[in-house]
Symmetry: none
Subunit: 146 residues, 2 copies
DNA sequence: TAATAAACGCAACTCAGTTGCTTTAATGTG
DNA sequence: CACATTAAAGCAACTGAGTTGCGTTTATTA
């Protein structure tokens, strides 16, 4: 599978689905593209807004579930009661640096931003805790919503 | 307020509530004690089970809300759709809520731990982004699940 | 192109958390 | 202590994210 450092071609997206035993439906290709374009996390509601078609929420939830089971995306911890998903950049490419920066979520417009300049403190071990992944999430107001 | 590094005496619990302009009701003293005894985070459901009395869920939610506003406890990021709360072991107040430590989530047992020693890089501004809260979440295996 | 199973879509449901409003009880003052 | 005040408790009804069941559509494969 190709590195997911930006927008993927339609052909790549389709073949990624195929490689994960998922059918190449119009919606799932669109959804995968959305995730490949989005450096931070997404909620089902955000997906519904961004994907042009008026898809049923059940379709979205089942697609997210299927994508997660296939290892394409993963749940992201959140303080609200919303489930957030993000693309597995580390698993899907050799570019480990991609998820090594902070993510900013605007509490007004819910837009998510990639803070490339802010690095996440990386550590593997802390006491008897074995750390596998680290996540630095910043919340507040984006330039548009101040 | 004293550091809450272990089990507190009934008198301490009551005075802590008083200092935060919260009334010393039987339930809230019990709830505060439960938090002081618990090193990891708690959900409303877990609280309902552990607190002896059959309290209304609304009472629990409102107490959690009041405790959070007073800086006694804070929300903890979680991957499920449950809201988790943990006690602020550091000095927190309504004015300056200090919650700048990392949280560790065990991917095996789903238990959440406050890593008081690991500080979250604090910043208020980054470019045109106004940062209100920062969240550093670590995932992996806790000592029990290695 | 027909068979088949995955994905879609609709309706109805679950369940954590919320809101409104009334009652109870903690606290402060005389 | 008695009373006034107001936070907290308690009940009912609601909200909204996410789920389940089931019939229909469509991508795949033989």
């Amino acid at each position: 599978m190709k590195a997911v450092s930006g927008i993927l071609l339609m052909a790549d997206l389709a073949s990624i689905l195929q490689q994960h035993n998922l059918r190449k439906t119009k919606f799932r290709i669109e959804l995968l593209q959305l995730f490949s374009e989005t450096t931070s996390s997404l909620t089902a509601e955000e997906i519904k807004k961004r994907v042009g078609k008026t898809n049923d929420k059940v379709t979205i939830y089942r697609a997210l579930d299927a994508f997660e089971k296939s290892g394409l995306i993963h749940k992201v911890p959140d303080k609200s009661n919303l489930t957030r998903y993000a693309m597995c950049h580390t698993n899907c490419s050799a570019h480990a640096h991609i998820d090594n920066h902070a993510h900013f979520i605007c509490t007004e417009c819910n837009e998510t931003f990639c803070m490339d300049e802010i690095e996440v403190p990386k550590m593997k071990q802390h006491g008897d805790f074995q750390i596998k992944t680290s996540n630095l999430t910043l919340e507040g107001n984006c330039p548009k919503c101040i």
